[in-house]
Subunit: 421 residues, 2 copies
Amino acid sequence: MSLESDLSSQLNRARGAARALALASSEQKNQALAAAKNSLSRSADEIIAANQSDVAQARDAGLNSALIDRLTLNSARIAAIARGIEEVIVLPDPVGETMAQWTRPNGLEIVQTRVPIGLIAIIYEARPNVTIDAGVLCLKAGNAVILRGGREALETNRLLARLMAEALRKSALEPDCVAFIGNPDREVIQILKRRPDLVDLIIPRGGKSLKQALAGSEVPVLPHFDGICHTYVDRAADLKMAEEICFNAKCSRPSVCNAMETMLVHADVAEKFLPAIAARMAAARVELRGDDRVRAIIPRVRPASDADWDTEYLELILAIKVVGSIDEAINFISRHGSGLADAIVTADTQAAARFEREVDSATVYVNASTRFTDGFEFGFGAETGISTNRLHARGPMGLRELTTYKYIIHGNGQIRVIGTS
Amino acid sequence: MSLESDLSSQLNRARGAARALALASSEQKNQALAAAKNSLSRSADEIIAANQSDVAQARDAGLNSALIDRLTLNSARIAAIARGIEEVIVLPDPVGETMAQWTRPNGLEIVQTRVPIGLIAIIYEARPNVTIDAGVLCLKAGNAVILRGGREALETNRLLARLMAEALRKSALEPDCVAFIGNPDREVIQILKRRPDLVDLIIPRGGKSLKQALAGSEVPVLPHFDGICHTYVDRAADLKMAEEICFNAKCSRPSVCNAMETMLVHADVAEKFLPAIAARMAAARVELRGDDRVRAIIPRVRPASDADWDTEYLELILAIKVVGSIDEAINFISRHGSGLADAIVTADTQAAARFEREVDSATVYVNASTRFTDGFEFGFGAETGISTNRLHARGPMGLRELTTYKYIIHGNGQIRVIGTS
């Protein structure tokens, strides 16, 4: 059988499962999630073994450290995934939630109610936790899901998907609600994107090549792409707080999209702030690249090129620029940011108010690390990802972001006056 | 100058205007809308004259009656558009609205707040009222808008857009917030869809050829396409009510997307119901096409082909089918409906509950006409359109559907624990 017909029959089964799943009760869904969680916890050793095999292959293939980090599962990360499932179980079911209701002058009663999206395809790269996180959130929100992980995590993902399917088989839900595509070829993406009749949404989590592969998709795409995040240290910043926040934003996990890539520092505090943060970054082996004003203060910083301001490093590299005003900082972020997560550190409430109003990013922070842009940290339980889209969902995605809605309208014979639009 | 560079500079001006407009106050926006309303009312005669010229040309070009109807503006329709602006002025400004707020255990305060989408391109065909309706709603929601109407309504649209721009010029907002593209060539659409750097969203309102023209768009598209709407007359229906609802759904304005195209009748009431509704439809010159069971009751009905069940007539044609159960009705709608508007007429609350739960359409009616699927009838003021998408916005679009959101997060130095995802 060809890849196309193989995939088509898998999509058709998932599509059928989606219709039943959309009408499943919260209890049925939670039971399935609990079974998945137990299965995951019981199989931790097996998962780590499969993952170690993936990691070893990835090292042989020469993957960079950021990707190896994303790929790695250890018992702490497996426990975090399991806790994520528990959090999702206790979260309220978004399906059936009343979003708004009102009565029209003619007596029509309109209720806007949440319903599942349908069948969602998740395309991701190295991080195998996505297999569970995305699967679990999609299920709870009543969506069937097609998981298509990266080549690097194939063994880990295959096992995780099998554990999910086994858990579903023990519950009232159909195993076809979670489908895993074991074929890592790019051709799979080309087939998926041409099936709007079967797939309601594609959520891609990856880099530029995934973006290119999805160009011209006939299925709606909710992208999870670039994160070029800024922290602006205002002249009214508590500099010790700024140091902690900037260090955390850059160093706590440089390989993820909410890590800081560019630090902007107000000229009035640059001479005091830069030496301290630079020393700390250097001790953590962060390569610093700065503009002339930065290098006038710390000569050992490498000069930043124009390309640096538009680069998502995902590594221990930081671009630094001195700015003359908050306006310059806001304009710089508007031009170079990716609109994902940007922060100001300031004790000046007026500066904070301007920054949060004028910076048009999914998450805008005052006096906190950009690293909190994450479904787990937002309290959404596990996360499907962080949308870099402006439409439907923006920023961390939880259960509600995996739903759509319909209007249910009750009347008693209302008809519309003839001739109006 | 080429079309491409011409359009590019127009888009760039609108983009610049969008950033300022996003920060405009409700008062500034309402003043601009009031000026537009006054300008429209004062210029009714001039608008009708321009429109008559468009209509005359359209008749010469042999446009069908549905399109001529959509194209026509008379004083009643102009007054309705003006009333729509008034309704939009009194509606609360969605921008800045708090959608949700919560505090995390670590003290981070998260506020989800509505913000404008940015620059929206509306591509529409014959209906010139869209020029005002869409322009007004986009403005109130803080979005700049590019209007690209159809060739048929060019004179009317050009005048309406000029009136809007003049009104903006008298207010505090920049006239570039509303841009009109006078070039009706399809090439314009090909240029628009390749500019995700300038345009945040394309809202197309039209038929199949517009859909094809937008295939592969790099700019997100919120489609407003097919409406294949059903009314199911249940065995427990009040048949007099069913007759009024079905007649209204088909005949009050057959050229619009929320008009009924297919009527499903439960077998138990078909013999009683069909003769009455068929006589009334025939008197209104509706062509009826039915399956064998319909024709066994009313032999003069033409036989329906398979294609009829999947056709959006937008004319005085109605497909009719007798079904044996509510399950058959729901399955039929699931297979042949476009997911826009479907109704059940029944006095049986259990049947109503099943229908509203299991029919997955943007608007699901119990005992009312599908013709209410409309922003004006929903109380949204004027309407930008009726989304046939499952994502971002579904069904009638009002102000909120023209916004996105961002999260504003206040902390006092929070950093994320090192090593977690």
